[in-house]
């Protein structure tokens, strides 16, 4: 297991039943390594993450988790306990009567199965996860009363509580203020130090440089994969974001294409 990458995609494609998708995926993530998934809106970043989770069918190539190839289609291979997923937080019902602590405990359910109820070890894992994201003081608070950034960190704690080998994050920095952003960056660094592999989709190139070891550029298909400095070149980014409007502070920039392209 230590020799094999946590995630390997070889010529993989994930396609929604509607036809949209992302293809030509060739990448490897080792334990303790973080990979940034970068591309414009609609490039298939979320589709890639959901494909790895088994929520979008794989239509070509191979996907291996911990060196073990997984079946085609939507088999719920995530049941093997290796994966955790941090969704974009906005779409959860803020009126649902549940405390932060109870949300984090959901991360332990997969290990418990149907019949067993959380025990002392599970409560300890929840407390650890809350401490890692710096929310121990708010454990008993209703989840819906937390700020957006705190909710995001709470969901990250839920992902941590499941002791994943690979953590998938979908745009975790969208709409975060600076303190929450810093807390998230610190947490990701700590996770890497513990040997957790991370695949994070983001618009934030700066973040990729801060936390990630490698970058995969996608726009419908994979354009590049490799170390941050080699992939995040002007030419690559231009090719990926060609014609896309980028907002930098208050300015809007339309990325020009290559000359003679």
């Amino acid at each position: 297991m230590s020799d094999s990458p946590v995630l390997r995609l070889a010529g993989a494609a994930f396609t929604h039943p509607g036809g949209s998708g992302v293809s030509g995926l060739e990448l490897e993530i080792a334990p303790g390594e973080a990979v940034a998934l970068i591309g414009p809106n609609g490039a298939g970043k979320s589709t890639l993450l959901k494909g790895v989770l088994g929520l979008v069918p794989r239509t070509a190539g191979e996907v291996a988790l911990g060196g073990v190839p997984i079946g085609t289609g939507r088999a719920s291979h995530s049941a093997n306990g290796m994966l955790a997923f941090l969704p974009q937080s906005a779409d959860l019902d803020p009126d649902f009567p549940i405390s932060l602590e109870q949300v984090v405990m959901q991360g332990r359910y997969r290990g418990l199965g149907l019949l067993r109820w959380p025990g002392r070890g599970d409560r300890a894992a929840v407390a650890r996860a809350l401490e890692t994201v710096g929310l121990s003081a708010l454990a008993k608070r209703p989840f819906g009363e937390l700020s957006g950034g705190q909710r995001q960190r709470g969901l990250l704690a839920r992902a941590l509580a499941s002791d994943p080998a690979l953590l998938l994050l979908d745009e975790p920095f969208n709409g975060l203020d600076q303190p929450n952003r810093d807390a998230l960056v610190d947490t990701l660094r700590e996770l890497k130090a513990r040997g957790v592999a991370v695949l994070v989709s983001t618009h934030d190139l700066e973040l990729a440089r801060l936390v990630c070891d490698a970058v995969v550029l996608v726009n419908g298909t994979q354009l590049a994969f490799g170390p941050v400095d080699e992939v995040l070149t002007l030419g690559n980014v231009q090719e990926c974001f060609e014609g896309v409007e980028v907002e930098i502070d208050e300015h809007t920039l339309v990325v020009p294409g290559h000359e003679g392209h």
Binding site: S78, D93, D95, F96, I98, Q106, L115, S162
Partner: protein, 325 residues
């Protein structure tokens, strides 16, 4: 008649004792299942199941008499649960489509019942139940059906709550949404089955929806929802039976028991709503309707409760001499 007589002594009469046992078990189970109905916003599917069960009851009655009620209802309810789970997953949630299917099943039931000799009596019993005339041999089957529903929900409770809160997260954690939906819809169906032969298919909805809605008003703590809903339902069933008995025997006005129970539920809901509005909890909850889905769900619950109250009032008025005939 004294209060003590109505609340306690009345239940030493065998038919009242049977009614109390069945109603207590049913109310507690419906209360617990109803919390999930509330959290998932499944009021419409529950309504659908109450209609789908009706032709099953009618056919069961036509084929096997009163002992055919339970099997007939169980088959229809489970078929209905499968069909509604499928409709939901296929994305067919148009009210019109489901309403057409439901009225179709209801009309099949009415046609079957109309072939029986005592059309009006049978129809009334199926729609409004006969909790005071539950035959002794049906007590155990009704309790067993209720307990199976309870078991199905308790065994999957953690996962059901996870799915209710975050469906995508629950899928990502390896839970099957289809399996969880099937289990929950079948549990709802079994509650409808047990309730159909006691309070009738039209009033079942109150048992499933009112206790859950009350619990949401009373507490914001997840695990308190279940005992609050179950306790409210049990007290409501007991007081409803006692009130029906007291009025029927004491005042000589024959109150239909099922409708009286539902009326007590709805009065209890109104009281809790009033108290929580005064104490500010409701205003806090409605302060910022950040989630349109949940706001709609709460409105749906309230509307359903109101509709059920109207039905109960209508039953009480229309069937004046209902139970005794």
């Amino acid at each position: 008649m004294s209060l003590i007589d109505a609340l306690f002594t009345a239940f030493s009469i065998p038919f009242m004792a049977r009614a109390l046992v069945v109603m207590l078990v049913l109310a507690v189970v419906a209360g617990i299942v109803g919390v999930l109905v509330n959290l998932r916003g499944l009021e419409f599917i529950s309504d659908g199941l109450t209609h789908a069960v009706f032709p099953g009851l009618a056919i069961g009655l036509a084929v096997g008499g009163t002992s055919g009620l339970l099997p007939g209802a169980a088959i229809a309810a489970l078929a209905g649960a499968l069909a509604l789970t499928w409709l939901d997953r296929a994305g067919i949630t148009s009210d019109a489509a489901i309403a057409i299917v439901l009225t179709a099943t209801f009309s099949v039931g009415v046609i079957v019942v109309s072939k029986s000799d005592d059309y009006a009596g049978e129809l009334e019993a199926l729609l409004f139940g006969r909790v005071l005339t539950i035959p002794p041999e049906q007590v155990v089957p009704l309790v067993v059906v209720s307990l199976i529903a309870l078991l199905a929900v308790v065994l999957t409770l953690k996962q059901q709550l996870f799915r209710a809160f975050d469906a995508r997260g629950s899928r990502a954690a390896g839970d099957s949404g289809l399996a969880l939906d099937l289990v929950l819809n079948c549990a709802i169906a079994l509650v409808v089955v047990a309730a159909a032969s006691t309070v009738g298919t039209l009033l079942v909805l109150a048992l499933l929806i009112v206790p859950g809605a009350v619990a949401r008003l009373v507490t914001g703590r997840l695990w308190w929802l279940f005992p609050v809903a179950a306790g409210f339902a049990a007290i409501g069933a007991w007081l409803g039976l006692a009130a029906g008995f007291a009025v029927s025997v004491g005042a000589g006005v024959d109150l239909p028991a099922g409708a009286t129970i539902v009326a007590v539920f709805v009065v209890g809901y109104a009281l809790v709503l009033g108290v929580s509005a005064l104490s500010g909890r409701a205003s806090r909850a409605s302060r910022a309707p950040r989630s349109p889905r949940r706001a709609g769900g709460a409105a749906t619950s309230a509307a359903r409760a109101a509709g059920t109250a109207a039905r109960a009032a209508g039953t009480a008025a229309a069937t004046g001499a209902g139970e005794g005939r």
